[in-house]
Symmetry: C2
Subunit: 205 residues, 2 copies
DNA sequence: GGAATTCTGTCATGCTATGACAACTGTCGT
DNA sequence: ACGACAGTTGTCATAGCATGACAGAATTCC
């Protein structure tokens, strides 16, 4: 099983404690106004130790968001082969969002990121860092080489970047539908095409 | 005409000099390795003055990129009404890229941004900050209200993805195809749909 | 030319982030 | 148990980014 030593367990606990403390402080005082010292102090470690667990202040805020991206990619890889890529990606994304959307901590995080340009940028950066990985998965489904054909990359960026933006925009528009539903709608729009109004009649097979 | 006073002209020159010096230093030493002090010193102003012209180190690096975004939006607004939005956006983007792509300074900048995740994220963030503006233009073309309908935002973010993908593909491919051509291709892929392979047959009118 | 406005440099300060080194704590073999 | 070893932490030092305050210099306007 999981025969983690005392040392390893302690590290896990410190890490979790730092994340929790950071999120709590961020929610109360905001991201910018919260200092590393405050986070470290509230867990009773030195601020130097903080940087041994997280490379930056953004890092601790986005720790959970990273897990979510990983979950989506795993779900995507697990989709049956032969499915259209956007359909597979949509199913994966909706699946993951649905498991997270009742989590209070996740929702707080979501608001935090949306409210903070620095965090938004950092999340984009992290998603972008995974594009190669995503493009590989997508390329495999499409049967093309991502290094030679830009389409997998395009699909990846559209899926990761646009949907995120679309959901945020939807939120702002005041729609109260659950996020998983918004995600599904955004993907559907991508699949059916975007060239309004009166794009040329297109038939795909 | 432009009866700019001495003061105003001096400011313009200082600003330009800072941008030029920054770009030169960035290209030689890289973005991270270049300090504000070095930039300020090479223009012979105090580092404090630097921050009176630019809010951050990213800011000076992306000053030209901002102009480019503005140019695309102007070109988009100038497109004949009734054109499909993606077609209009594609034409605007291709137009602007074509005018810039022979500019050495622009190419250096492009490489700089592509090579730096932090800069890439910052540029996306700046583009995102303009989404309200873009959505208004797109919404007008689509005949919908961006405040109520998320589709203009979705189109805006997807268009950004296309440009981004074109840049990446262009950098990755060396100099095989001109960037304006890759931009055109990326937009065409969006128009014809992305759901590979074998998406459901869709007919739009 | 002189008053008012605007810009600049200097000084001071706070926060993020990293390197170096010593002290401490858990791990493992005996 | 004991002690050598590896991994973790705290302290100290340092560099860079970014901002506020204020005095002095430059420009503008009359």
């Amino acid at each position: 099983m999981e025969k983690l030593g005392l040392r390893e367990r302690k590290k896990q606990r410190t890490r979790e404690a730092l994340i929790d403390a950071a999120q709590a402080l961020f929610c109360v005082h905001g991201f910018e106004a919260t200092t590393i010292d405050q986070i470290a102090e509230s867990v009773e470690v030195s601020s130097r130790t903080f940087f041994r667990y997280f490379t930056s202040k953004e890092d601790v805020a986005l720790a959970l968001a990273d897990d979510q991206i990983t979950a989506v990619l795993e779900a995507f890889a697990a989709q049956p082969a032969g499915l259209p890529v956007l359909t597979a990606m949509r199913t994966a994304a909706v699946e993951v969002v649905r498991t997270y959307e009742t989590d209070a901590r996740f929702n707080g995080l979501q608001g935090l990121i949306s409210a903070n340009p620095a965090l938004t940028a950092a999340r984009i950066e992290r998603a972008t860092a995974r594009f190669d990985e995503v493009a590989r998965l997508i390329g495999a489904r499409m049967g093309v080489d991502p290094a030679a054909d830009p389409r997998p990359y395009l699909v990846a960026s559209v899926a990761l970047c646009a949907v995120q933006t679309a959901v945020v925009a939807w939120r702002a528009a005041g729609d109260q539908a659950p996020e998983s539903e918004l995600t599904r709608q955004a993907f559907d729009l991508l699949s059916t095409g975007l060239d309004y109004p009166a794009g040329p009649t297109v038939t795909r097979r």
